[in-house]
Amino acid sequence: MNQSVKVLSLSVAAAVAMFGCGKKEEAPKPAAAPAAPAVTVVKIGHVGPLTGGIAHFGKDNENGVRLALDEINATNPKLGGTPVKFELVAEDDQADPKVGNTVAQKLVDAKVAGVVGHLNSGTSIPASAIYNGAGIPMISGASTNPAFTEQGFKGVFRVVGRDDQQGPAVANYLISTAKPKTAAVIDDATAYGEGLANEVEKTLKAAGVKVLPREKGTDKTVDWKAVLTKIKGKKPDVVFYGGMDATGGPLLKQARELKIGAAFAFGDGGCTDKMAELAGAAAEGLVCSQAGIPVQAAGKQFLDGYRAMFKMDPIIYSPFTYDAAKLLVAAMQKADSADPAKYLPALQAIDYNGATGNVKFDEKGDRKDAEMTIFTMKDSKITPLAIIKSGKSLTLDEYAALGTAGK
């Protein structure tokens, strides 16, 4: 509610702002609002689920952007000679593709200069067509489905890795540690869950592991007993679940109740400390992956700022949305304009050292040389085991010694 009031009250100023830094960049500022100081407002959109079972992911991502914009505004930034203020327009897509498209259109109508998000691949992919049509660049800090950047849209980027990197990473870890003969793969029938599960299945099969027919739930399933019982009968050595922690927690708990002894592995959606809360003791020993560096390895400035501002630890991908927001602004500052058409080339060519290390984009908009991290649940905390960078496996300390995420 708060947000909409803020947006409303700013809309007058913003309308002037967008006009100013839009097409008529060179024109002298058309007699900026008489009483107010001549500060132009540039809106940056963020979209993620803020309600529903995975609202904690969405809020974490939004916090990253909020912190980034706060830090930037504190430096009194200027674009085209005028002081500017970056304003966050945060929207809730409820992790639902239909709602995602509605709020995407809302952001387009609000004339945001750039978008950080969405969170779920299932909402990012359809929404990207809307932003692309309006010429607004978007950077997702969490969508890992390969299809997101395979659509040929020029203004679509992501700062995390792809599931065709994440899937093989976690699958190869399982193959080398658990040495499975038979594997079961479950997903939540979303673009993200199914996509990641497909990649894991592909890698397992390529290594000669027998993979059972796919089992599915939905992104709201909490009763997995029937599915797990069926799997139990096939006696797999490992079970992989592509889905989020709100459904993965009950899944893991019920699996142990049914005395399924297999090793369990989840993707980034199930790779949070919340798993320990939802699954209890059953979560110990869970293997999971994230399509980026662990939050512990993020830059100190980010970590200190986040803890000071939100009085909590970052959950998972907030360092990435933090970087995404900073990338948008860095590109704008390079082009000296908040006009998407002007700063997009600068964004494509960017070479930026952020909280998650060095960011460069390839021609598709994927992050070059993205890291992958494998975790295990230890004493109710997800603990990084290995950071995979450029095909090499590093420990957290070895990665820190590289000093890439120094900023």
């Binding site: 803020l50 309600t51 529903g52 079972g53 609202a55 904690h56 029938a189 027919p213 796919r214 089992e215 599915k216 739930g217 939905t218 709201k220 399933t221 909490v222 009763d223 007993k225 029937a226 599915v227 019982t229 069926k230 139990k232 009968g233 709100a246 927690g249 009950p250 708990k253 019920q254 109740e257 049914l258 005395k259 919340k274 809360e277 939802l278 699954a279 209890g280 003791a281």
Partner: protein, 330 residues
């Protein structure tokens, strides 16, 4: 065989919960022919209240056995839900007692939304992790695992169903309920306070719902403000399946639905694996050779079974499995 047994245990557990919730729908329907769509939300609030109390008691650090802590949660949830059940009847439905049938039905849907958002305001939008205080010991019987929570749910449900049956068929107040269900006006002429009886059915249904809410919370380890919706819908299906208005029907309907869901989810994948059927298997020979499977319907159809069964029953036996009284009601 052990897998079949396991699926039956799973089905009996969820079925018991459906049955207990279905009783709340069917009792109210039996007396005033209202489908109380807010009943699922009453169950959800039961789980939420129990969650708060269990967290508080467990957090206090008293050396109490886990069963006592959960019991404290249940004992707190029951009166809260009873109060909500009573208020629903008194404030929302009683003023509409003589209104056209559609008005209270829409009110019921409205009350469901009100309660859901009330819970959102009080407990927030995050899924609440039910504390794992019950030592969840699993016992293995014939290759199938059954946990202490599952045993607790099944035993408690059977006890509550037996208790309710005794209450309705063997006590004076139970006779009054049945008389009111038969005909409100005649019952009133015989000196029965119909308002009291109707309020009582809401209160009893809500108390059962509160216990069901705690069961669901401890069983799945998770509570959420939207959890009442699907649960309510399935329990309603169970009530219709058994014959709405009929107590034994609700119990049977719940158990049958739970079993159908578990067995359906467990076996539809194997049954619709096209590779095993000679004719289709040949057509898909290439895929079958590469993959070994070509499954038509998977376990994601879990939630569909409840409604599929409901449709089939309504087509072939519109009054439900045991519901000989529906025709005269409708």
């Amino acid at each position: 065989m052990d897998i079949l047994l396991q699926q039956i245990i799973n089905g009996l557990t969820t079925g018991s919960v459906y049955a207990i919730v279905a009783l709340g729908y069917t009792m109210v329907y039996g007396v005033i022919q209202l489908i109380n769509f807010a009943h699922g939300e009453v169950v959800m609030i039961g789980a939420m209240v129990a969650f708060t109390v269990i967290m508080a008691v467990a957090g206090a650090g008293l050396p109490l056995p886990p069963v006592v802590i959960v019991l404290a949660g249940v004992l707190a949830a029951i009166p809260v839900c009873m109060a909500i059940g009573y208020l629903l009847e008194r404030l929302a439905y009683r003023p509409l007692r003589h209104a056209p049938r559609l008005a209270p039905l829409i009110t019921a849907i409205g009350m469901s939304i009100v309660l859901q958002h009330l819970a959102l305001l009080v407990w927030g939008r995050d899924p609440l992790a039910f504390p794992q205080i019950m030592e969840n010991a699993s016992f293995v019987i014939g290759g199938a695992a059954i946990s202490s929570v599952q045993i607790g749910i099944i035993v408690l449900s059977v006890a509550m169903m037996a208790g309710l049956t005794w209450f309705v068929y063997r006590t004076k107040f139970g006779i009054a309920i049945r008389a009111t269900a038969e005909d409100v006006r005649i019952a009133a002429l015989m000196g029965i306070d119909a308002n009291r009886v109707i309020a009582a059915t809401f209160i009893i249904g809500a108390a059962l719902g509160a216990v069901a809410g705690v069961m669901v919370g401890t069983y799945y380890g998770i509570a959420h403000y939207t959890m009442g919706f699907t649960l309510g819908l399935k329990a309603f299906s169970a009530a219709v399946l058994g014959g709405i208005g009929n107590l034994a029907g609700a119990m049977l309907g719940g158990i049958v639905l739970g079993l159908v869901e578990a067995l359906g989810t467990g076996y539809i994948g194997e049954f619709t694996d096209l590779c095993q059927w000679p004719l289709v298997g040949d057509a898909l020979a290439e895929r079958c050779a590469a993959d070994g499977h070509a499954v038509l319907f998977g376990s994601n159809y879990q939630d569909v079974f409840a409604f599929l069964v409901l449709i089939l029953v309504l087509v072939f036996r519109p009054s439900g499995l045991l519901g000989e009284r529906v025709s005269e009601r409708a």
